[in-house]
Structures are given as C-alpha cells and as structure tokens.
C-alpha cells in the first residue's frame, strides 16, 4: 500500500472539507526560537497559539470541546500566520495583520486582551493600566488572570504587560521566554536577569 497515495487521498479530503465549510478548526505546528508552536484558526481568524511548554494534544482536545470537534491539521490554512510569526522572530515585523477569533475569552478577560492587543511593539504597560483600560481599575487581579489565560499569546502581546515598577510578572511560556521577547523588541537589555 503506497503511503504517498494515501497522503494524496488525505490532502484531497482536507481540501474538500475546507471547500464545503466543514473545517471548523485548522491547525499546524511551526518552529520558533523557543520551540514548536501550535497555531489554530477558525473561519473567523486565529483562535489559539500554543506555546512550547504546552501539551499539543491537550490543546487540540480543548479546541474540540470549546470550539468544534471538526479539528483538522491543515498547514496551508495557517501560511500567513506562520509567515508573520517568523518575520516577528527575526525582528522584521512589529505589528501583526491577522484576523483574530476572540471566542475563547469572555467578558472582562476579552476586554483586557483587546486592550493588550493595542500595546505597540517595543512598549510595556502595567497590569493596573490594563485593568483601567478594560473599564475596571480595581480588577488588577482579573487583568493578571486574563494575561495568564491569553489563548493567543505572541500575537496578542501579553508579554508586554509588566508589574507596576517594572518587574516581569508571569508568563505562560516561562519567564525566560518573556524576557527574550522583550529583548527582541528592544525593551530590555540583553543582560542576564538580575
């Protein structure tokens, strides 16, 4: 049995699934300086970025539960996302131009994340500022939670949110990654963290 033939059969099936609007969640994995990333999109836009320390299978099961079980690996659907991310990692892109699907975040969290999405490249804000932008200055803890639960990290730049006073705070992908992203954007010096 020829595997090449089988693969062509599978590719045709996926192309047809997309044509018939049955491909609800398309995903792929791609390399990054930090390790492999999972990228997933719906017809609305990018819905999930999985960081290297997250379990891909768990993320896919979560997408199946929360968005739709019609989840298929379809790299071509994420060509543009992959292209922009790679440019970003090379320091050649300072603003993503990708449609986003916010459905995995509701209410206050989504408002916080939308505010974070407007923080320009190379700048940082505090959790308190983000809470204020989302319409509730006292919700600092909620703002922190929203960052921590960001389903679209890197593209929605929660790494640009720091503690008041400049301490790094937390990051889903690990503090070393947050530090490296801020260095890439020229916010932090490339000196070792004190």
């Amino acid at each position: 049995m020829s595997t090449a033939t089988d693969n062509a059969t599978i590719e045709r099936f996926k192309a047809r699934a997309a044509e018939e609007h049955l491909l609800d969640v398309a995903y792929t994995t791609t390399d990054s300086p930090f390790g492999p990333l999972l990228l997933a999109r719906t017809r609305r836009g990018l819905v999930r970025v999985g960081l290297p320390n997250q379990d891909t299978d768990e993320l896919l099961v979560d997408l199946a539960e929360r968005v739709s079980p019609r989840v298929l690996e379809a790299p071509a659907e994420l060509d543009e996302t992959r292209r922009e991310l790679h440019l970003y990692f090379e320091g050649k892109l300072d603003s993503f131009d990708l449609p986003l699907d916010w459905r995995l975040s509701g209410g206050l969290r989504q408002r916080v994340l939308r505010a974070i999405n407007r923080i320009p490249y190379g700048q940082t804000r505090s959790y308190t500022e983000m809470a204020r932008k989302a319409g509730n200055e006292r919700a600092v803890r909620a703002a922190g939670t929203a960052c921590g639960s960001n389903p679209i990290p890197l593209v929605v730049p929660c790494h640009r949110v720091l503690r008041t006073g400049g301490a790094l705070g937390g990051y889903g992908g690990g503090l070393a990654m947050k530090q490296a992203l801020l260095e890439l954007e020229g916010v932090l010096d490339e000196s070792p963290a004190s």
Partner: protein
C-alpha cells in the same frame, strides 16, 4: 455529554481500515472517491454524534453505503482494476493475485462486504456484524460463503 476527540485523531485512527475496505469493495482507483465521500459525510455528522461507543463501526457503515452508492451510480457490477491492494494472507487467500479483487468484486454484495471488512480492513468478526448491521451469525455466514466461493473461483 461525552467529550469528542478532535476529528484529526479520528481520521488518523480509521483511515487505514476504511481505505482497505473501500479498495476491496470498489477497486483501488475508485476507492479514493469513496473515501472522500465517506469522510466528508462523517465530518458533517461528527459534532452531533451521540453515541461514541463504536466509532469504527459507524464509519464503516457509512463507507459501506458509499460503496453501494458508487456501484449503483456506475450501474454495473464492480470491475476491479489492476494493481490490487495488498492483502493479508489468511485462510488460504493468496497475498497478491491480480485475479483476486476481480473475484471479490464478483461476489454477491453481502459476501463481498464481509470479505472486504475482514481482509481489506482487518476487522475482527464481531465488528463485521456491526458494520454490516446484521447479526454476528449472519456476518459469519456471509464471510464463510464468500471465502468458499473465492477458493473455488481461484482454484
């Protein structure tokens, strides 16, 4: 409600038995079309699937229906093509034989499906019955009759 696995996982698990079954049913060159039809139908129905108990049986039932539709659309008995799919050598069936799939294709529908499920998909006997929607007894009989006939044809 039961959690549903991503369709990709489902596809990875079942693509081989489905393609094997369809190659045995309609021949290798038309199996591709039937495979598309089968998995598109499955993908369409997948989110509303209630009983996640026997997914392979459910899928092979769809594949069986698509193979029958295919024959009907062609308005003829299946004419299997050259390049037969490889076959597991069991019960005296030769591993490779250009005449084999032609003989399988010439079997009565029930027998053909039973043989295709057993040797194209490598399904255990119990699952053949559920995929064909018949009793285990009837499935065993179809398989047995089919094999007997094949042995005679190919002798």
């Amino acid at each position: 409600m039961q959690t549903q696995q991503p369709f990709q996982t489902f596809l990875d698990e079942h693509r081989v038995p489905v393609l094997g079954f369809l190659r045995a049913m309609v021949g290798p060159s038309d199996a591709d079309d039937c495979f598309q039809e089968t998995f598109i139908a499955a993908l369409r129905a997948y989110p509303k699937l209630q009983d996640a108990g026997n997914l392979r049986g459910w899928l092979l039932t769809i594949a069986h229906r698509k193979a029958i539709d295919h024959h009907r659309a062609r308005g003829r008995a299946p004419v299997p093509v050259a390049e037969p799919a490889e076959l597991v050598a069991v019960d005296g069936i030769p591993e490779r034989d250009d005449g084999l799939w032609a003989a399988v294709g010439a079997l009565p529908p029930k027998q053909r499906a039973a043989v295709a499920l057993r040797y194209g998909s490598d399904l255990p006997h119990g699952e053949i019955a559920s995929a064909l929607g018949c009793s285990p007894e009837a499935a065993r009989r179809s398989l047995h009759e089919g094999l007997k006939r094949l042995r005679k044809e190919l002798a």
